[in-house]
Structures are given as C-alpha cells and as structure tokens.
C-alpha cells in the first residue's frame, strides 16, 4: 500500500472495524436470529416441505386441505387470520385459482372453535379448530 502513514493507519482501522462488524452481523443472523436452525431444517425438505416450513406447518396443512376440497374458482374469506397479514397473503397465493372475496362462498376458519356466521353451514373439517363453512343455498 502507498499513501501517508497516518492515512494508511486510519484506513486500516476503518477496514478492521468493517470486517469485525461484518463477521459479527453474519454470526448474529445465523445464531441469534435462528437462521442456522431454519437452514438446517430447510435443507432436509423438498419444495412442498419448504413451502410448509416458511408458511408454518400447521397453517400450510390447512391450506393444503382447502386446496384439495374447494373447487377451482371458488371464493373464500378467512376467520381467525388477521386481515392484511402475511398469512393472508400467503394463503391467497397458495389457494389461487380460488379467490379471496368479501362475500364468499366459503369461510375458512383457522384456530377458532365455534365460528358461526348467518347464512353459512359447516362444510368440511380438518379438526375442531380448522374447518370450512359453506354458504347455504337460498
């Protein structure tokens, strides 16, 4: 390296700080934030297993159940999942070509034991807290 000795020292210190922070942030990400655990779990899974892991295995199981039992093009809405949440966005993605709608044919109840809505009846259930309501025919 060339340049004044003071400048060289300043740059060396700045570079050392950069490297120290760089290494510590990677370690923090991997171990304190738990990414290492996630990567280890993801490595042993296939595509669907990975989709299930990132969505949450329990929620993904319900989405798979809905996918298998709702007709394509059907409209749905959720009870028990926060509106506008990432879970809703993931559900909308995985359930397409079924579409989210304010006045749906089906209500997907997730983690709510006795959800009732006028005009809807129980259609199918995965378990006591995860089930589908269907609009009654007039």
């Amino acid at each position: 390296m060339a340049g004044g000795p003071l400048k060289k020292k300043v740059f060396a210190v700045i570079f050392a700080v950069w490297i120290a922070l760089w290494a510590s942030f990677i370690m923090r990400e991997l171990f304190r934030k738990g990414y290492f655990h996630d990567y280890k779990a993801l490595l042993s899974r296939g595509l669907e297993g990975k989709q299930s892991y990132v969505t949450g295995d329990r929620f993904y199981e319900f989405l798979t159940f809905c996918n298998a039992n709702l007709p394509k093009g059907a409209t749905f809405n959720f009870v028990g999942v926060e509106e506008g949440s990432i879970d809703i966005r993931r559900a909308v993605y995985y359930l397409y070509p079924r579409l989210e709608n304010a006045d749906p044919e089906f209500i997907l109840v997730y983690d709510a034991s006795d959800a009732r809505k006028a005009g809807y009846e129980r259609y199918l259930k995965l378990d006591d807290r995860r089930y589908i309501l269907k609009k009654r025919r007039p």
């Binding site: 950069w18 990975k50 909308v92």
Partner: protein, 513 residues
C-alpha cells in the same frame, strides 16, 4: 434436471439480451466480457418480459417457442458478420486479429490510466496480495451466501408473494396474461399498477422449468446482485487498480441490507441494477460524447428500470435532467462547432465562435435528449397504454390524497420524522455496517471534488434521487412514520451502488492501493 433447465433458460435469456445489444452497443467495444454478459442478462429479462406483455395485445399464448423464435432473425443477422470474418481470414487469422485487438486495448488502457496518474502496478508486497486474496474470498462468500439464501426457501416475503409472485402464478396457470386481467382480476391483489418485468420474468422461468417451482425461480434475484457487483468492479477498474476495485466491490457486497435484498425476491435490487447500469453508461457518455453506444445503453436500462418499478421512472427523469444540465453548463466551454453545421446555417455566420459553439451544443442536446426520451418512451409505451386503458393508478393517487401542491403544508409536520428516519439509517450498523459514516468522511475530505468535473453529475444524480423520495414522502397521504419505516431502508438500495461508485471515484487518489 430442473437445475439444468434453469441454467439453460438463464443462458438463453442472456443470449437474447446479448444479441439485442450486440449491434447498437457491444460491437463498438469498450466493455469486458463479464460486464457484457451481466448487462445482457438484465436486458434479456427486460426485453423478453416486454415481448410477453405484447402477447396480451395480440391475444397470444405463452410458450417457449413463441417467446424465443421471434428473436431468431436477430441471431442470424448478428452471426453473419462473424461468418464472413471467419471465411475471409480463417480461424487462425481471426484469432490473431482478436489477440491484436486485446493487446491494443490493453496498451490504450495503460496509456489512458497513466495519463490519469493512476498506478496500475502497485507494490506486489505480501500484504497487498493477502488483501486481494481476502477481498476475493469475501466477495465470493457474499455471492455464495446470497445464492444460498435465495435458493434455500421458496418465495415467502410479503411484497414478493402478495404483489409479484401471485401475478406470475396467474400468468403461468393461464398460459398468458388473461384477457381482461387488468380491468378485473388484477384489482383483487395489491398494487395492480406496478410494472410486470419481474412477474413476467418469473413466468418465463416457470415455462422453462415446466412447473411452478417458486424456489428455483428466485435465482433471478442473486443474479442481479452479482450483476451489480460485476458492473461496479469493472467500472472502478477503468480508473484504479485491481485491489482498489475489489475493496469497493467487497464493501458493497457485504452491506447487510444489500445482501439481504438479493435473496428475498423484492424488486428493489433489480431496480438498483437497472438504475446503476443506466447511470454508469450515462456518465461514460458524459465523459466522452463520442460513445453514443453508452447513451443508448443508458436509455435502454433507464427504460427497463421504469418497466421494473414505478420509481424507475424517476431515475429516467433524473437522467434526462442531467443531460440537459450538462449541456447548459458546458455550452460555453464547447468551442468546436461542426464545420458543416456552420457552413449551412446562415444564422450563425459572422457571429462569435462561442455563439456558434452554443448552437452546435443546442443541436447535440436536442439530439441526445430526443434519442434518450425516444428509447425510454418506446420501452415504456406498452405498459403505459395498458395502465391508461385499464385506468390502473397508484392507490395513493387514486385515493385523492396525493397532493404535490400541498407539500409545503405537509413539510411542517413531516420533515421531523423524515430527518429522524434518515439519521436512524445513518447510524444503523445492523443494516449498513459503518457505510454512511465512511461516505460522509469521503464527502467531507473531498468536498472540492464532489461538484467538479464529471463527478458533479454523479453527485447531482444522487441528490435528485434523495430529493425525489423526500418529495414523495411529503406528497403521499400515507401516515409518514409508517411509510418511512416500511420504505426508506429499501429505497436507499436503489442508489446505493452509485454511492459506492462515487466514494471510489472520490477516494482514488487518497486510498492508493
């Protein structure tokens, strides 16, 4: 098998991009092969997705044949000069000619660098070599880490899945952009007005894979990341040593926020790629106006930036503004009018030399500006037509709350949160390491340089970008604290590569490695 298909599709996309850019840009030389390949990759994705959008107008279905075959005449047209060259000279003669060109280029580069006072061959000390090895290791690590993080899980982050992946899934399952999509189905999902470069690119990858693999499709994002690093490295190499270029490339690669966005399938990094490519090419042209290929490349990449995210249009406007400022500020210095122009223009006869030069410059600004606006408009036109016909408007503007004229009133209560968020990022090492204090030091110690020569245009482009974002914060009806916390650290990514390039440019004499 899927990995092989993915690799072939990426190669095919790059090949299309290369062939599109070959005649107007690459044939004239000046760019090293890795840079050409990564520019071709982004251009290929952009042009192929634009082509897929055009399928909507002609009601055509997507298929790999239908998408790639229209480019075949271009491949043939580009291959003809190669064949003629080989026939006339033979392979050996052709290789010799290529070698001569490389030697000549290396010599001219050496002369060019010597004239800039650049030390290309610094001391080959052990420390110097160790530094280079460390930097190469660091960059390689960051690239592999970005690839790993992108490919270890499918698309799952909020905007990536809610805005972009859902559209690519719809297009793939329908085998086209369904007719009436923009007036109907698109409105069932957030932000129907967002451009479709990346969603359609994802659809293209699905078509190549033959299934909806939303894990492998994420490869396109770290490739943009590598593309930015390659462009940064070679752009710094034009005025500095290998170790110096590696140092700044490593700095960019190791910014935590930048690396994270190479893997989460958001569009901020692809936008940064197009904006950076466009800006670099523009500054190359500002340095040497004979390089019309740089002006064309800049316009193409700016147009594709607008086709990637709405913010890209702001960068198009900034570049056009810079061209105008350049000619206004340089017009008096331009003393060499074109002879033929003077002879044929009686209006300038008998006037002072400076006046004639100004006329020549005026013509050049109109010419360059027209070329730039023309290219950007051609690229933007199909999407603009769709947006207009389907009345796709940004949600903030549609709500009537976007009031550009009311920003002065808004400024009084919004400026404090904006400053607070800016300082939070400035002193936020978790996302940026100590990048911003370093940049501030570089600017303070080089304050005389930042508004001199070509550097002032780089500085201005960054200033305009920041001011543009501030304007949107002031004019937007979205609650300011929420808006800032959700967007500012992402928006910085759009111009981050240019900031690193500016720092490298400013410190080239002080940090002599």
């Amino acid at each position: 098998m899927e990995i092989l298909r993915l690799a072939i599709s990426i190669a095919a996309i790059t090949f299309v991009g290369y062939n599109i850019l070959y005649l107007p840009i690459f044939k004239k030389g000046g760019l090293p092969l890795p840079e050409k390949l990564f520019i071709s990759y982004g251009a290929g994705l952009g042009f192929l997705s634009l082509e897929m959008l055009l399928f909507y107008f002609i009601k055509a279905k997507f298929s790999l044949k239908a998408i790639f075959i229209p480019w075949a005449p271009l491949f043939i047209a580009n291959a003809v000069p190669f064949r003629l060259l080989r026939r006339s000279q033979g392979i050996a003669a052709w290789l010799l000619a290529m070698t001569d060109r490389v030697i000549a280029r290396t010599k001219s580069e050496a002369i060019h660098e010597a004239s800039r006072g650049c030390r290309r061959q610094p001391q080959r000390s052990l420390r110097y070599r160790a530094l280079k090895i460390f930097l190469i290791f660091g960059i390689t690590f960051e690239i592999l880490y970005a690839l790993f993080r992108a490919l270890i899980k499918p698309i799952e982050s909020y905007d990536a899945i809610a805005i972009y992946a859902i559209k690519s899934k719809i297009f793939y399952l329908a085998g086209s952009i369904p007719q009436g999509f923009f007036r109907g189905l698109a409105r069932a999902f957030p932000h129907p007005d967002y451009p479709l470069n990346i969603p359609l690119s994802q659809t293209l990858i699905y078509l190549s894979l033959g299934n909806l693999n939303d894990q492998l499709v994420k490869l396109i994002f770290p490739l943009f990341f590598i593309g930015i690093l390659v462009m940064l490295y070679f752009s710094i190499r034009r005025f500095a040593s290998q170790a110096y270029a590696l140092l700044f490339t490593f700095i960019l690669a190791s910014v935590p926020q930048f690396n994270a966005y190479a893997a989460n399938a958001y569009l901020d990094l692809p936008l940064a790629y197009y904006c950076f490519a466009s800006s670099l090419a523009l500054f190359s042209w500002l340095e040497d106006k004979k390089k019309t290929q740089s002006l064309i490349l800049s316009a193409i990449m700016a147009g594709l930036a607008g086709w990637t995210k709405n913010e890209g249009l702001m960068y198009c406007a900034i570049n056009i503004l810079l061209i105008a400022i350049y000619f206004v500020s340089e017009r008096n210095r331009t003393v060499e009018p074109r002879a033929h122009t003077l002879e044929r223009n009686p209006a300038t006869e008998g006037r002072p030399e400076q006046m004639r030069g100004a006329n020549g410059v005026a013509r050049e600004v109109i010419g360059a500006g027209a070329v730039y606006i023309g290219i950007v408009s051609i690229i933007s036109l199909p999407w603009a037509l769709i947006k207009r016909s389907a009345n796709l408007v940004n949600a903030d503007i549609a709500s009537g709350g976007f009031i550009p004229t009311g920003i002065l009133q808004e400024a009084s209560h919004k400026i404090a949160p904006i400053i607070y968020e800016f300082q939070k990022q400035f002193f936020g090492p978790k996302k940026w390491n100590i990048l911003w204090p370093i940049i501030l030091l570089a600017l303070v110690f080089n304050y005389k340089k930042i508004f001199s020569g070509i550097t002032k245009y780089i500085t201005m482009s960054l200033l305009f970008a920041v001011l543009g974002y501030i304007f949107f914060y002031l004019a937007s009806p979205v609650e300011i604290n929420y808006f800032l916390s959700r967007t500012w650290s992402r928006f910085i990514i759009h111009f981050l590569p240019m900031v690193i390039y500016l720092a490298a440019y400013l410190m080239k004499e002080e940090l002599d490695i």
